[in-house]
């Protein structure tokens, strides 16, 4: 079994924790040992949020050591850059095109919101897959499935059979949205598979 460490990052309220739950659930169904770790509390008021997911035959540390993540899934561009040091030199970063400028960037001196986070991540990652998940989700008719599109885009990096993903989705999303979520997952996977890194 191939061991995988995935870091999912974003901004409080974006649904990072739900996405990492879905991934963990799918990995568990696929027969892996799984550990997942994040911190609740202060971070949820619009702060930066990260969730570590480790998938293997047997997992010890729930935290990924720096430079050891096989994949980074970022729900927001600047967050991808904030956490890129967890990624292996040849790791893959799947980055949502969304930009959320924190209120502090408006009144505090500092580095400011990064110019082009995707390009900066590209300089430090093996492969970068930028994805405009909102547009993909809107095309499917429901902007709320943005996160499922992103998980689909991530799925190409992992050894989890599509069936297990689908069952994990069925078990977690509200009844009545199962079909659109499964469709969003496949659309994300397809978009990522067709992406050619420049």
């Amino acid at each position: 079994m191939r061991s995988m460490s995935v870091l999912i990052v974003g901004v409080g309220g974006q649904g990072v924790l739900l996405a990492s739950e879905l991934l963990s659930d799918a990995a568990l169904r696929a027969g892996f040992d799984v550990k997942k770790s994040e911190v609740h509390g202060m971070a949820q008021r619009g702060g930066s949020v990260s969730s570590h997911v480790r998938i293997s035959g047997q997992v010890f540390s729930p935290l990924i050591p720096a430079g050891q993540a096989d994949a980074l899934l970022a729900f927001e561009q600047a967050e991808a850059l904030r956490w890129v040091h967890f990624l292996k030199a040849d790791g893959t970063a799947v980055i949502n095109r969304r930009r959320l400028v924190p209120p502090v960037a408006l009144f505090r001196k500092g580095p400011g919101y990064p110019e082009d986070p995707v390009a900066s991540v590209r300089a430090r990652a093996g492969r970068v897959i930028p994805i405009d998940a909102e547009t993909v989700a809107r095309r499917l008719g429901n902007p709320r499935v943005e996160n499922t599109v992103l998980l689909g885009a991530l799925s190409g990096c992992l050894d989890i059979p599509e069936d297990d993903w689908m069952r994990a989705i069925e078990g977690r999303v509200p009844a009545g949205t199962v079909d659109i979520n499964c469709g969003a997952f496949r659309a994300g996977a397809e978009t990522a598979a067709n992406w050619e890194d420049a």
Binding site: L28, K35, S37, G41, F60, L106
Partner: protein, 595 residues
Amino acid sequence: MKVLLSGNEAVARGCHESGLHVATAYPGTPSTEILEEIASRYAEIDSEWCPNEKVAFEVAMGASFAGARALTAMKHVGLNVAADPFMSVSLIGAPGGLVVVSADDPGMHSSQNEQDNRLYARFAGYPCLEPSDSQESKDFVGHSLEISAAFDVPVMLRMTTRVCHAQSVVRLGERREHPVRGFQPDPRKYVVLPNHARVQHVWAAERLERLAAFSESSPLNREEPGRRDVGVITAGISYQYVRETLPEASIFKLGISHPLPIERIRRFAASVGRLFVVEELEPFIEEQILAAGIPCEGKKWWPRLGEFSPDIVAAGFVRAGVLERGPEPPAPVEVQPRPPVFCPGCPHRGLFVALKKFKALVATDIGCYTLSVYPPIAVGDICVEMGASIGTAVGVAKARGSGKGIVATIGDSTFLHSGMTGLLNAVHDGAGITVVLLDNSITAMTGGQHQPGTGKTLSGAAARPVELAKICAALGVERIRVIDPYDLDQTGKALGEALESGELSVLITNRPCTLYPPEIRKSILRPPFRVKPDACIGCHACFKVGCPAIGESEKRTEKGLSQSRIDRTLCTGCSVCSQVCPVQAIVREPEGGAK
């Protein structure tokens, strides 16, 4: 069946399987989900939120006196509040079984300090069990209850943030029932008069010796043989990091970190070359081992402050010369920080925006409103612990000789937790401070728990809601006013009068939290605001209210200044930003325009 559970969910499951009867708590990160999970899944357990940790402890303690299996859960600093019964009950015992979950927060993710509560276990003579993952979190609840009932001793189940919130695989079991034995009157045991307590103290000391013998033989302390030149003693989450970074070492994993199985440790030490102790925070295990005359190395290589990670544990082994230095891990990139902020529409925003003008000295308290200390609002001079604001403000007033210009800000839940006695003292003392009771009708910071003011219990049942204004009046406060924090003018006037009066005044804000309980959103959402591009002069006054819904637009004024924009999907229509705009460029969208 195998499922993925967080440590907190696993503790709740452990309560179910081991036949627990009573569970109590006051919410506090990282312990909160234990009681929430019990209430939502295991209805056979009588669970409740209490106004504070001391009361929660006492309720669980009483249940165990009457022969029930009981558990109380709290964050590390919560145990300071409950320390009085915690210490004294050690001399009485816990015949039904009593588990005290202490959820410590190394790294202070959501806390004001990072005290290591294992020291409390030793101080009071409790056994201390330390789970290292969710399976152990579940199993150790059962072990703790068995030990508790067998030795007539309360047990500390010591968790940390990483164990509480990390999820791992757990094998589930069935519930095993235990009869409630009932209260057996015995004043020499249950009434701690000095002449009784002196006898009980001797008994407790002897009990600790029996517990040490138990620890020697318990399988919760286990050896994992490996390389003979390196032996590592570890417990809790550190065990996982050691297994990850030095998998070939000989490991002595402690499930019981107090009292230590010192003779087994002595034999383990003799069987390995160098002996290391890897533990987060205090050298709790290390010092006991050194005191027993067994040489070991611990805090020499690993930090005493902050949370551990696999990187930190590995770096210690590298420094100690037992692990080869790997490739340097990549350095983090400096990115604009993203600190937490008040939610859009948060009722605290208007109050602090209005308060900022007065340049008052503000003693604040523990809750979402502590975020006011961050820019752009940047109001708040002092914050120490739950309920401290009023007492501290009174002290500052004494030193200054007047309460004028001194404010205490405190939330509803914190006031009911431990602010009421501070206010009673202020009345009795004749202090002339201003107290702002930020009543958002929920315990927000920890995720929206009910409290005696909300009219609902943990299980969602109706309860008689207490009224804060009536409590203040009953405590003897004469100047009490309810204010609308969305109305900056009215709030400012009320603050001005109170601050000038030099008399004890209580102002109570009346808008609910916009995030919790989730049902609240429907009732508070009003049509959102927007910025009129032809009117915005680019002064950025509205940025200063620090609302996540407000940002910079692409548009520029004639002078080239960026204009503001409002994200209509985030805006709750609270109107605070529109009141600070000097040119009325922020207007409400027409009714029906809201999403």
